[in-house]
């Protein structure tokens, strides 16, 4: 009898496949609006860009570019899509610079425009094809927005995500406005997105695999080697643009051991611990809305394709290197989160696909918009490393009693093997003691004293016990700080 009832429920509730996402505590602060999908328009959204007329350009893995009228309308179900271009090769980067829409295809950077005004692009100009592809599906090319010098940054996945069979696989290139190629970083494995922070420094996500113990956010610091030595042979064709070929890292070592031996090696700014934060890090966007997207101005938001989530990242600089912390932020996206863009009203547009790689979001493809409700969640706002611990700030005033109690926090650390084999378990675990907690007089931050910090480790903090001044627990109590460098002061 019970079973029959379930059946009825199934039939009734699954007919419209594209309803609103299920209620979630996160909804109270950030609402998910879901654009309707259909079978005719396979919107496997590889890249997003806003056009000067306010339309949203959505590029797909099938090589189409759609324009969405009024993408910021309150009711996305009435959105109107029109086809702007098609027949392109798996577009994973879109950027507008008048009068052209630039896209990054597998084999080239192309710019296009609609010359006859019929709403469809008709002139496609190749800006650069300064790298090669050999027919392997994994040879993806992800593109950025324009940097402060007008360059596009392109990250090139390795062949099969393991080796570099043709030119510049496993490299980041900058493409100048006149189409010149500047070799920028080596060491890329399998990127999932590229984006800038508020200062205009460029980052990308790389994914668990050889030389990548887990997925990570990495700084594309020009001239640096970011971890996977598979593309080293192409130093020979750079004319010394970023110096000589670095020495090979030692497989089975640790990242910070090797970083001390290899001056070119830039360690990942933030690790996303496998299964805990996600499994496939993807698009990156910085909140530059100055408060329109809530209390996290200038922080980075990073997608995870497998978990269909958007994560939050706070970065600081220590000894000239970026490092920082990631937090869970929002789950429940329609498909596997891939492309992220911040709209003019501060909301995040999030494109998804799970073709070839499964995701928690069960739609085959999706376009969602994440809107701040205006209500501040109680969250750890920032987490900074100190010589002897961490400083946490919060989005809301805290309850001094729970905040001052070391038992409100638990802390453990681990790192990853830096190795040629695929991925890594968490290794070298420690459980440091939080010896003391000082609560700031303004009730907005705490100082944790830790015995002792572990250089090169992820410091996994759970602040389960802390309460806001109004008695609320944290919306997300977990934080994962990548402590490559312990600040001296």
């Amino acid at each position: 009898m019970k079973y029959a009832a379930c059946w009825l429920l199934l039939l009734v509730t699954t007919a419209p496949a594209f309803g609103q996402a299920k209620a979630d505590p996160e909804d109270e602060y950030y609402r998910l609006l879901r654009f309707p999908m259909n079978e005719q328009m396979v919107l496997e959204a590889g890249a997003l860009e806003l056009m000067p007329d306010g339309k949203l350009a959505v590029a797909t893995r099938r090589g189409d570019i759609y324009l969405v009228d009024e993408p910021l309308a309150e009711d996305p179900t009435s959105a109107n899509f029109s086809l702007y271009a098609s027949g392109l090769h798996e577009v994973l980067g879109l950027a507008w610079r008048a009068p052209w829409l630039y896209c990054v295809q597998r084999g080239e950077v192309t710019r296009m425009k609609d010359e006859d005004g019929d709403g469809r692009a008709d002139l496609f100009e190749t800006v650069s094809d300064g790298w090669e592809i050999n027919g392997d599906y994994h040879e993806y090319a992800f593109g950025s927005k324009f940097d402060r010098d007008g360059n596009l940054w392109v990250t090139l996945c390795l062949t099969g995500s393991f080796s570099s069979e043709v030119k510049y696989r496993g490299w980041c290139l900058r493409i100048t406005p006149d189409g010149k190629v500047i070799p920028t970083c080596s060491g890329i494995r399998s990127p999932g997105g590229v984006g800038m922070n508020d200062r205009g420094d460029m980052f990308y996500t790389d994914n668990q695999g050889p030389w990548n113990g887990t997925s990570a956010l990495k700084w594309l610091r020009p001239g640096k080697f970011v971890g996977h030595p598979g593309g080293f042979r192409w130093y020979d064709v750079t004319d010394g643009a970023i110096g000589p070929r670095p020495r090979e890292p030692q497989s089975g070592s640790r990242m910070m051991v090797e970083a001390k031996k290899i001056p070119e090696l830039e360690p990942p700014a933030v690790y996303f611990p496998y299964n805990k934060m996600g499994q496939s890090a993807s698009g990156i966007v910085c909140d530059l809305s100055d408060g329109k997207f809530g209390p996290f101005a200038n922080q980075l938001f990073v997608g995870d394709q497998t978990h269909s989530t958007v994560m939050r990242v706070f970065l600081e600089q220590v000894d000239g290197h970026y490092q920082g912390v990631c937090f869970p932020f929002r789950k429940g996206f329609g498909s596997g989160t891939l492309s992220l863009l911040q709209a003019s009203d501060g909301s995040l547009l999030v494109g998804g696909t799970n073709r070839g790689w499964g995701s928690r979001g069960s739609q085959p493809y999706s376009l969602d918009r994440l809107v701040w409700t205006g209500k501040k969640p109680f969250e750890i706002h920032e987490m900074r490393a100190k010589p002897d611990g961490f400083e946490l700030t919060f989005t809301e005033p805290i309850d001094p009693k729970t905040a001052a109690d070391p038992k409100s926090y638990s802390l453990n650390t681990y790192t990853y093997l830096y190795q040629a084999a695929y991925g890594s378990p968490e290794v070298d675990p420690t459980t440091p003691t939080i010896t003391k907690v000082n609560v700031a007089a303004d009730g907005r931050s705490v100082r944790l004293f830790v015995d002792k910090l572990q250089e090169g480790h992820v410091h996994e903090l759970a602040a389960e016990g802390i309460r806001s001044a109004t008695g609320q627990p944290l919306l997300h109590a977990q934080a994962y700080y990548t402590l490559n460098y312990i600040p001296k002061q």
Binding site: L10, L123, D129, Y137
Partner: protein, 917 residues
């Protein structure tokens, strides 16, 4: 290598002559579990020492002479000595002479004791002779030499399927020998190829106690591994290759080319080529046809190939094309025939496959018929060992009286020979002297190490008092050590792949990480696998993880069957009760929900897991159809809630994060109901209806009133191909890397399914008909002299740049590219009416400073003028050239070129070509 063996043999001869000198260097018997878990001097726990000693009591087969009570004997599971029923059909008598004279010298680390160690040489020699003459009555060895192709395949198998879990890898240069490896020495001293092949094909027949498990080798696998292990014998090769580099549109005349490399080949395949593009191969070999009859030969390739038998072309599969197989039946006489295969590859995918079908036989690779021309090699064979009946009869007496028969089964006339040797019961033994003495005496000499003697003494001491019941988890652990399961598996921190062997555990799915290559943990396995399945695995071995090269061998239920109950009991506490659900598991609607959950609109299990023989759309993880036959249902319920809890670091996503389903609309969002629906659906195994989204149909792209573009990997047009389908049902593919019109074809345009489903791997070929390949290489070149060859290097190296394209009113592209200071626009359109269209291609060139002697290469191949400005190409395509410029045919035969001079007026020039086919 041969020199080295000779040297070894010399040492061996010395050792036989002076046994006392050899004693000093005798290697203790190697028992892998003892070496790994009990050998450390620091391991002083008394219980552990006894456990180590008990392990040795079993592995050294002590209780075959020293009787133990039944329960003790059952607990130590003695390792039976090899069955000798037909020993000399696999082992050389010459070896037995050396081995019986001094086992430790002939096979260092052997567990075979020297029962004659206390005897002077002059007494020992006749006994050994007699024993060997007796043993030699069990059969005769055959000598054949290994073949090159079998050796190279065997080398791969040996290092991948799990042999090196227990034995040292045999690499060049040799890896450091591990204390936890069973040394193989130089097997050619002991075995002939047929003998070792027979042993490897079924080790349990000779060694029934399962320490050397049965690896489910095919006859060819066994032969090839044996060939590799005997690779110090003279190797015969019946197949050679020659490798060439260059760019061709069809098979070149190999007799006029100089190969870049030559050597022995192991098969008619492309593994000998370092390149993937622009190369050619010729294989020459000999095949042996066993019996006269009609044979079907098949040759498939991408690009062209040809099969010659006895110097006559049998199948011609020439030209640039996607994989295309041709076949022909040929009457063959019995005997030796020469065979040659020619092949070339220009660009795109590359495949070569040469097979045959004998009369009434299945299809096999042609390489399996290859034989060496000078078999079995020129080496002098040892003289056949001649049995002396008198000596053999004496030998039989020794076999009975010396105790050989206590350990070894040897059946004569159907009955095993019984031993008359007696020895004290185990419980009555002193823990010193006898077999434990530290110098040879009248007792069998094992060359025990000090630690081994200490452990055996402890175990013998413990055997005097009734054994306390061993806890189940301890007895399970001991079995795992005894059978060296711990070489591949870990369980509760015991064992697991050793670091030094780790590199030999590989998979063809590197993306799966360690899960793809390291055999699964046995922690909690008793709560995971269903007992019937475990029984099947022990009885038959398993290969459920197709991506993992290491195989689960067959140990025999009679040997390891105790683990079935043992694991279940030891892990009983880990079993989590499954939810009580009031549902009908056979209800078709219920299974349909399960099917939906498994599919692309559900949890997308099929994105990673195969379904029987249907490939998944992503990685190829363990087949879903094996789940319900392998797993316990209660475990499945618990596992799906928390995969990383059971397999830390697993790539398996969590369908129910935080205990909640990501599909709340199905079955009321009940995690338990959803799990059960999946289980009940999967219980249908490969009889189940395929999950949704696993098999996708064609995605044909069609042009209606506008042209359709498709940029992707198109076979024959490169990695940056731009396919264009026109409403007139003509199609073209432009290669944006080489700036050339690469292909034109009629009818259907293209199927995008390969690139638009799953991860999009592979090359797509035209979907339509009469595909015409147009010339490789750049379209324009300035030739200083009429004899200059056409450039064969990539377009970018010739100064070409792709500039993009402009779309016309009907989305038809005009391709834009440049070279030097010349800008080119290249526009094709179908012209004609109703059913008959041709391509008209207009090329416009502009240059402020035009190059001199600029030519366009319009066609290559066999070129015949039809009339003015009309040419027939390869009897398949007609090109019309308009304008005044006079085209020139350069070269002759099948490699002619049709060149059109390009003349600029006021900085512009144009060429118009019509393609009609």
């Amino acid at each position: 290598m041969r020199r080295l063996c000779f040297f070894c043999a010399a040492i061996l001869a010395l050792a036989v002559a002076h046994p006392a000198a050899a004693r000093a260097v005798d290697q203790p018997p190697r028992v892998l579990g003892f070496e790994r878990f009990h050998a450390a001097e620091t391991d002083t726990a008394a219980g552990e020492l006894v456990a180590g000693g008990q392990l040795l009591l079993g592995e050294l087969n002590c209780t075959s002479c020293h009787a133990a009570d039944a329960s003790f004997a059952a607990a130590i599971q003695k390792k039976q000595a090899p069955v000798l029923d037909s020993v000399t059909s696999r082992v050389k008598p010459e070896y037995l002479l050396k081995f019986l004279a001094d086992p430790q010298a002939a096979k260092p680390s052997t567990t075979m004791p020297n029962v004659l160690a206390g005897m002077p040489e002059e007494e020992r020699r006749p006994i050994v002779d007699a024993l060997v003459h007796f043993l030699a009555t069990t059969g005769t060895v055959e000598h054949t030499n290994p073949m090159r192709q079998h050796v190279s395949r065997g080398e791969k198998l040996f290092h991948s399927i799990g042999c090196v879990a227990c034995h040292d890898p045999r690499t060049e240069p040799p890896a450091a020998a591990l204390a936890t490896s069973l040394p193989l020495g130089t097997p050619s001293r002991k075995y002939t190829l047929p003998g070792l092949t027979a042993f490897l094909a079924n080790p349990l027949a000779v060694r029934p106690s399962g320490r050397m498990p049965h690896l489910n080798l095919t006859p060819a696998d066994a032969r090839d591994i044996a060939s590799f292990l005997l690779n110090d014998l003279e190797i015969a090769s019946g197949l050679q290759y020659a490798y060439y580099e260059g760019t061709w549109d069809k098979l070149p005349d190999f007799s006029k080319l100089t190969p870049k490399a030559t050597g022995d080949a192991s098969a008619f395949d492309l593994s000998v080529s370092p390149r993937k593009e622009n190369f050619a191969l010729r294989f020459d070999g000999t095949i042996l046809i066993d019996k006269e009859g009609e044979y079907l030969f098949l040759i498939g390739s991408d690009d062209g190939s040809r099969l010659l038998i006895d110097d006559k072309v049998v199948i011609d599969n020439d030209g640039i094309h996607p994989f295309q197989q041709k076949r022909k039946k040929v009457k063959m006489t019995a005997g030796i025939h020469t065979v040659a295969v020619e092949y070339f590859e220009q660009g795109g995918e590359e495949v070569l496959q040469v097979d045959f079908e004998g009369p009434g036989a299945p299809q096999l690779p042609l390489a399996s018929l290859v034989v060496a021309t000078k078999s079995p090699g020129t080496a002098v064979l040892p003289e056949r060992f001649v049995v002396d009946a008198t000596l053999a009869s004496k030998g039989k007496d020794y076999f009975v009286s010396l105790g050989c028969a206590s350990c070894h089964t040897l059946r004569k006339d159907g009955a095993p020979i019984a031993s008359t040797k007696t020895a004290p019961d185990l419980a009555a033994l002193k823990a010193s002297g006898g077999c434990l003495a530290d110098a040879p005496s009248k007792s069998p000499w094992y060359a025990l190490g000090a630690r081994q003697r200490e452990a055996l003494a402890a175990a013998i001491g413990a055997a005097k008092v009734p054994a306390a019941d061993i806890a189940t988890d301890v007895s399970v652990a001991r079995m795992l050590v005894r059978f060296n399961c711990t070489a591949c598996h870990d369980r509760d921190k015991l064992g697991g792949v050793e670091e030094a062997r780790n590199v030999h555990f590989q998979s063809d799915m590197p993306e799966m990480g360690d899960e793809g290559r390291i055999p699964p943990t046995l922690t909690g396995v008793g709560a995971k696998l269903n007992p019937e399945w475990l029984k099947t695995v022990f009885a038959e071995g398993a290969k459920d993880r197709p991506y993992m090269f290491t195989r689960m061998p067959r140990f025999g239920v009679e040997n390891v069957g105790g683990l079935i109950e043992g694991l279940a009991a030891a892990d009983a506490a880990l079993i989590q009760a499954e939810p009580k659900l009031d549902i009908d598991s056979t209800d078709k609607r219920h299974k349909a929900v399960g099917r939906r959950l498994v599919g692309a609109q559900g949890f997308s299990c099929i994105k990673c897991h195969t379904f029987a023989d249907k490939r998944s759309t992503g990685i190829q993880a363990l087949s879903l159809t094996t789940m319900t036959k392998r797993l316990r249902r209660d475990w499945f319920h618990a596992y799906l809630k928390n995969p990383p809890g059971y397999r830390p670091g697993t790539r398996m996503p969590t369908p129910f994060p935080n205990g909640e389903t990501t599909l709340p609309d199905i079955l009321g969002g009940s995690v338990d109901l959803q799990t059960r629906a999946i289980w009940d659906y999967l219980a249908d195994g490969d009889q189940g209806i395929l999950p949704i989204g696993l098999v996708t149909g064609e995605i044909e792209l069609m042009a209606f009133d506008e042209a359709v573009l498709y940029r992707n990997f198109i076979e024959g047009a490169g990695t940056r191909a731009i396919g264009v389908g026109y409403p007139a049902k003509l199609n073209l593919a432009f290669d944006a890397n080489e700036m050339r019109l690469a292909m034109i074809w009629h009818g259907a345009f293209i199927d995008a399914a390969k690139h638009w489903t799953g991860r999009g791997a592979g090359w797509e070929k035209p979907l339509g008909d009469s595909v015409q390949q147009l010339p490789a290489g750049v379209p324009f070149a300035a030739l200083a002299s009429a004899n200059d060859p056409w450039p064969s290097t990539p377009a970018k190296e010739n100064g070409y740049r792709f500039r993009g394209y402009r779309l016309g009113d009907k989305r038809e592209p005009t391709f834009l590219y440049s070279f030097g200071n010349v800008a080119v626009s290249d526009y094709s359109r179908p012209v004609g009416e109703s059913e008959y269209f041709v391509f008209e291609r207009k090329l416009q060139l502009t240059a402020a400073d035009p190059p001199k002697n600029l030519q366009m290469r319009v066609a290559t191949g066999k070129i015949e003028p039809v009339k003015d400005n009309v040419y027939r190409i390869d009897d398949r395509l007609t090109v019309h050239l308009s304008g005044d410029a006079k085209a020139v045919i350069r070269g002759q035969g099948d490699t002619a070129e049709l060149l059109v001079p390009v003349t600029f007026t006021d900085g512009t020039a144009s060429v118009t070509i019509t393609y009609d086919w």
